[in-house]
């Protein structure tokens, strides 16, 4: 080992300039690697980030170019839709009004002997899913409405078409007794959650 070190020392002494050049070269290489490799990695990250930002800018440019501002008609349509959405639920205080409207519409389609009752709706509430519409939430109410009336199947079909949007038909049952046909509609009522 000593001999090896001595010969190494002798070789370095004989080629001191080359040793110095080699040392400086190694130093320069180390410096270059120390600076270059992180810079290369950073450049790769920045390049990817630039690509992402370019895509965002391009997408936003094309989006802006294709964007059409809302017209008056569109704004009006939004309002109308908003009103319709409001009608998708009836507040508890409106339950009588709702029942009255349903009874009136049943009579209007030709039903006779219309009777509207409130029923415990826990069952239907658990079976029906809430409505999430236009940023508003409507939950099934804890009560339901049962409509019993006398009339034909066509009248039953007509009544279904004019029921308020705050209710959903859960079941329809018709029974004949002699010449009289009785229809029973079980309705789920929705009320706004907020």
């Amino acid at each position: 080992m000593k001999k090896l070190l001595a010969s190494l020392r002798a070789a370095l002494g004989a080629n001191s300039i080359l040793a110095q050049v080699g040392g400086l070269t190694l130093l320069a290489l180390a410096l270059a690697l120390w600076v270059g490799i992180p810079a290369r990695r950073q450049a790769a990250l920045l390049k990817a980030e630039a690509g992402r930002l370019e895509r965002i800018v391009k997408a936003s440019e094309s989006w802006v170019a294709g964007f059409q501002p809302a017209s008056n008609e569109e704004t009006l349509a939004w309002q109308n839709t908003g009103f319709e959405v409001q009608k998708l639920g009836a507040t508890p205080s409106d339950r009588l009004t709702l029942a009255q409207v349903i009874a009136r519409r049943a009579e209007d389609v030709g039903f006779r002997g219309v009777r509207v009752n409130f029923a415990a709706g826990a069952d239907s509430a658990s079976q029906s899913s809430p409505r999430q519409v236009g940023g508003r939430l409507f939950r099934p109410a804890q009560y339901g409405i049962v409509v019993e009336a006398h009339g034909s199947l066509n009248q039953a079909s007509a009544l279904i078409g004019v029921l308020p949007n705050a209710v959903v038909v859960r079941s329809v049952t018709t029974k004949r007794s002699g010449n009289d046909v009785t229809s029973i509609f079980s309705l789920v009522v929705y009320e706004p959650a907020n």
Partner: protein, 492 residues
Amino acid sequence: MSRNGRVRLFGAFIEPQGIHAVEYAREANGISVLRHLADESRVSGMADGGERLATLIGAGDGSRTSVSAAIRGFGSGYQIMMLPHAAPDILRPIVRRELARLYPDIDNPRVDFVLGGEIDRRRRERADAGAAPLELLAAAVPERAVQAFAEELAARDMDLDHLTVLPQVLQRLYQRSESGFEPTAVLLYLPGGPILGFFHERQLRLTVEPPFGIDMDEAAEVQTILEQVERGALYLRQQFRGAEVNRLLVSARPDDQERIVRLLQSQLEISVAPLAPGAGSPATLAALGAVLDADAPSSLNLSPTAVLPEELAAQTTRRRGLIAGVALASLALIWALFNVVNALRWSSKVDALATQARARSGALTSMRGVVDERQKNAQAYTFLESLVADRTRLQRNLRAVARTTPPGVRLEELDLTRAGEEWQGGVGGMATGSSGADVLLAVDRFFRYLPREMPLRNLLLTQLEDVEPSDKQRLPGMRFRFTFTAIPNAQP
């Protein structure tokens, strides 16, 4: 570098007994001697020799002064040696080691050598017998002494371009004067003592410097020379397969030349002739021999200004190493710089794009409200449409039951209960007809027509039973019940 572009050329021979120099000029067919210079007082050392040679040459008129010199003594040494056939780079360390062994007193020797050629004393019968060994003339001088010599000259703006030893001078003089191949002896009767060189096939094979005492008379000197000639001849005969020395070329002082030639001729059985007659004294010939060696393509040069092949190789290695190192370091640094610049460039680009994106984002914020409203409205509209569609499906199912009820069938009950998007249904009724077959036909029609009008699955007849005819009509009748699942759309 000369101030006027001219170069003064000098050849010199320095030995402890004095200094002899010639100024010469180059001509088309050789050189012409312009003047002879001599300082025959004793020289104490190389530094002294350099100083006195410079004084002898004298200051120039701004011209560069180039000096080619031959030395004898002053610690110098030389050896004709035989080594295996090899490249000079390989031979050089061997020669250096051999000279160091032969001249251990030379401190830090400066060594050079010239290759003489192959010597093949054996009869080689096999083609693969190997290459013949090389004969070479090697010389060494103390580095410090020649440095001092050159520095003394340099102090007077003179360049020691060439420094050689006396045997090499003999070689050049012989080559210049003779073209024959016959074995020849050459005698230079120098002031410091004679030197004998023996040539075979135009190569110097042996040098002898006979030891002359101060008290020796001319007869004793001649006798000594004769003995040395005989010994040299014997050496050549032994070493070169019976080569016989048959000539002796002599250079002595011009006044004594003819007499010495006659004297030697009378004692020897070989031809004795003057060497370069009319060229001047032996010392002048030695100085010119140094010039001839300086001009030769392969010379023996011990001047410290001369770049020795090993130094040249070392310089080349150093230069290559330096170039490679600088190139490698430069490439690495350029690569690193490129990456840094690239990173900075991408960084500035990212900054610019981020600024641009932020500016776009501000413009988009106002539009986002419209977009959100449109999305909300579209969702609400879709929901309302689905609500209508749901009711329409239920209406369609009710109407379908009413429409498909065939004659002879009276609906007694109908129930539809929501099950997600489907409806679980049940239809019950009474079928009557003129015969039992008619009754069954009515039930069957109802059973078959119902799927045509209403998309459904799992249509099952769950009840079919006879009903006692009433007393009045006495018609057969059957009570039936179907169950089914009404689906939103017809399945393929």
